[in-house]
Point group: D3
């Protein structure tokens, strides 16, 4: 079993491979690639658009190398649909995976994201994924992606403040982190919520959840439908030779 | 890691534990219980209702024994919500899990079930689970649950006939087996479909998929929301002493 | 015309038959049964599950006795679908009936229920019944079912407090009582609302409304569809002999 | 108890009062008015529009006369919302009432109507009433409203032909007549369906059902919400003096 | 190109033709008619009903005169569907047109209307037009239609107060004026919102938008479907001879 | 008034500017750009992804040059959301515009597209745009984009064959061309449909419709919401220097 994490940004070293190891089986080979063509971080549709081509190229390369499943390391799920058209191995986007898991785990869920610029994308993706009725709200902590790393205290404080609001005011029964860069804070946030009287609210940490889903899909042989994701018709592509398409 | 399969019928030996082993990790402890109180098989809401109390009792017992996750071995998901109220460990119903997986894998899915008596329940559950917009159709092979076992040929032939229709006429891009007793036929059905010109349609085999999801949930620590699934208020219960509640 | 009220709890005498007589025609025969097997009250999915088998057994007995229609005396509608499979006479659940009446009477409705433990069930049932778009909110008065009886003052005060919020903040145009045990308080609550400047909001009292609907259905010969509610396939049932199934 | 039927067409004597008596209690006073201003029959939105003002005027008059509830005798529900604004007594439209009853009685319903010109109105009303998800289809028998009366044989034959299609091909579990002029044919249609192997499908006859609902609403004191149906602001109305507004 | 504005009220001179000229091409012939039969203003369903017949008669006359497109000058869209049945030239209602434009321009929209009596109609129309999921809220400024004209200051102040709430509290990303009589205030409201920190929210002024859409539809030859809007069957109409139908 | 058409493919000369002139005012300046980086044609999500970055770069350039509105010349709407984030002038995608126009013009619409590979994208976009309930079906003529040009006879024949099916079998009341390359065939298709007994079905030709909408939006000053489409946060972009971002 070999799972490839594609971290779809050009800020190298943002999410080191070591940080993912505890979320896969000991026997699972885990590898990671980042991008050379794309944005430093992903905080809007424009960034996702620029991240998508190289992400899909990385997915194609992964399949050629015999990788068993691909996980895109960004809650924007950049290139998810196009990658599924391009390859047959499972490609998982954490936003899609976590929204469906959240829909299973409770009546309604909210997303805690980094910046307001990312919020409309979550609403759009909930509509695409078919779970918009379960999306209670999207709130942001107003911290850019690249500032999430380092001291966790202000991030946790901001997450807690917003989390209380989505539970108390918006009707959230489940919380999803809106950025894979928030990895590792789910337990602490759950504890903070419980301390403030809002216990029992699952906090879904995107990459751990999606990596485990990817392992599960690969083990059981679940693939995406070729009637939804057709192989792209062959044709001339100009200007993307650097991607090796 | 210990996963408990609850086969919620009183026909003992219908789905032996051995048949599930290949769908969990070698290191995962897998155990199984069946029911002493309930129906011989589950083919309608009435049967589900009678299966639910003992199923939930089995889930409570599993939690007390230190089991990590429970999987209900029936696409009717009998007792799913009540079990989640009663315990904190993950309880997975294959209908809920597979409908969400199917919604991730393609634009729309159909269910191939045993009898027409079970069809309305699938529509109802799709509504409860929030994926009714993705449910293309439910078609039945007109074979009772207890007749699925034995010679696979007539079951596969009937599944193929219905599968062609859901893909060709109903717009299904993904197929879900409507009975856990159809286990093991997904590969053969996919091949039959491909042979008839309908390749690329994933066929989701409920128990393998749900067991892998249960492992994933248990490993990552995903739990259901206590704001959706509250602990039942303590009160007098009459006439269910045989369940040990 | 003979209507049978099934009060699906084992707390005998909670809702005496006399209290229902004014809500049916003088010529209508009204009878009542309670349960010997089930919960003392119904405040969550777990309780509903335990109430359902005996409730359905009571519905079957009612049909055998020549009763014209059955009304389940609980807003959880325990056993509703299974009972409809089992019998041909109309079986009404007050939650289903009142949610549809509320949808007819105004743009959106809220449910005022007893405990938070019951709230998710209302959301689920609204989804099953097809009126989730009209459900503005569910709020609870934080009073257990068995504490509703006796002095009405604190119950009315709590209902009024929540009612103001659903109208003022949640957009409710119609209110439904979330427990049949609140019977008789609709007029007083409407008056309290009007006194606080929120007049013109219908308050639907579940059992009076559902009894009248049951009479209407029986008189006009409305039955549930046998294509949705199929007769349960005959099979061995274990451990429910006490129900006389 | 006094119920007023408003037959909102200018073809006097189309649906005589005597034909409705069996659908109300012996003690219920039943009266009827027709229109002097409006269309000879109602077969499109244009006709409904022309029927509405006089229908609402009749509802206002009914309330002034002390009538307890009003039933509009047309599946187009002409003037329903405006009438509810204008009066406080219950006003029932058979399309709204029967669509909600059908939604209670089965998984999905179809409407069998007179002409294709009326079909889009049913889709629109299903959307307004919140039950569009339950509307399987609308099919017409291609017989004008004023030709329904007289020999029932061709009407029943045409209804049967369409009914088979909605059940077999469209997924209808319940059937609603799309014109109140089809009154009395529900039993015969149900028998024809059963004879052709499609038994167990309730056929809802609009006026009997709605009259019984009106009695039920009036007895229990159910009124429409004044937050949805506000009293019209007083103002100058020109050119409708003949209506006595 | 000739566009006819039908101002569907009997308060003559309320919205003079001159006020619309800047919103059409210099080469477009613009004409206007008002009503002789109907309400002084439109503030509820009752008013819309009374405005509809004469509005449709005006649309029929417009088509006979060779007009290329009709715009109904009221956010209640009175007579829209019936007019489309009656004529083949495009008939635009500003509520329908602006709700679809708003759905294109942002994630969710709110309507700022005159009186609470008009609010439920907007919810209903959003359901009919298929955009209810995008309707964040309807709030009213509590100023009658006929009081909008004259000094703009109090109207603008009231609009600003409500606009801040729909953006800050209700999640509106786009605002639509709920009355065509608010014409001309969109720019000022946008500036006020920006001054209070809520910039970037488009404010849709109904008549300018709808007139431009009407020109566009007429130029490109877009017509409504005759399968949705069938020609009304010919029949006797009583009491509307004054309309010249 | 200056409108820029971005033809987002690298097959230069596919849709010459001259072919669009008749669809804008004589006074409107119309200009066109094609892509140097991207696919030869757009027939799946993968192609759209590759077309998007250069399309957005073209939109940014257009705004800098003082263009008043941008129209993307592809029914995949590649880059639509990202372009709106990047610029303040109106950016119209023909799929979004035509789906909303179709929703206004009739009860339900179908899309006639080129290849099955494009079909899932239309379903996805209908979900994103909020009109999925109005999408009756998507059917393809099985002709690649680059084969549409030249002899129109086979294209028209194939369109007619599919059009009859969407109207007769799928319930379409309006038809939208699924490729802007079908430009000019709407009138002929409408005539063919009428000749086969399916008259009165509007056929929406994407680019004429969208160009007229763009003119309308620019004239009235309609802009997209900055709360949905935020300005992208400034950051390092690698590997797209050729786009001049």
């Amino acid at each position: 079993m070999h799972i490839r994490v594609i971290t779809p940004i050009t800020t190298h070293g943002y999410s080191p491979l070591d940080g993912f190891r505890e979320y896969v089986d000991a026997a699972t080979v885990l590898s990671q690639v980042e991008l050379d063509h794309g944005p430093a971080s992903i905080e809007c549709e424009f960034d996702e658009m620029l991240a998508a081509p190289a992400t899909v190229a990385r997915a194609i390369a992964a399949e050629r190398e015999g990788v068993d499943a691909v996980v895109i390391d960004c809650m924007g799920d950049p290139g998810l649909q196009a990658a599924r058209e391009a390859v047959q191995i499972p490609v998982l986007g954490p936003c899609e995976a976590c929204m469906h898991v959240a829909a299973m785990m409770g009546q309604a869920f909210s997303v805690l994201t980094v910046l307001d610029t990312t919020s409309p994308g979550f609403v759009k993706r909930a509509r695409v994924y078919g779970v918009a009725d379960r999306l209670a709200s999207v709130r942001s902590v107003n911290i850019p992606v690249l500032s999430l790393k380092g001291d966790h205290s202000p991030v946790l404080a901001a997450l807690t403040e917003q989390a209380v609001q989505v539970v108390r005011d918006d009707g959230a029964h489940v919380i999803i982190f809106g950025c894979t860069g928030m990895k590792g804070l789910a337990g602490a946030l759950g504890a903070e919520l419980a301390a403030q009287g809002y216990g029992g609210v699952p906090v879904i940490d995107p990459m751990p959840t999606t990596l485990r889903m990817a392992e599960a899909f690969a083990k059981v042989g679940i693939q995406h439908s070729r009637r939804t994701y057709h192989t792209p018709p062959r044709k001339r592509i100009d200007g993307y030779s650097f991607l090796g398409l």
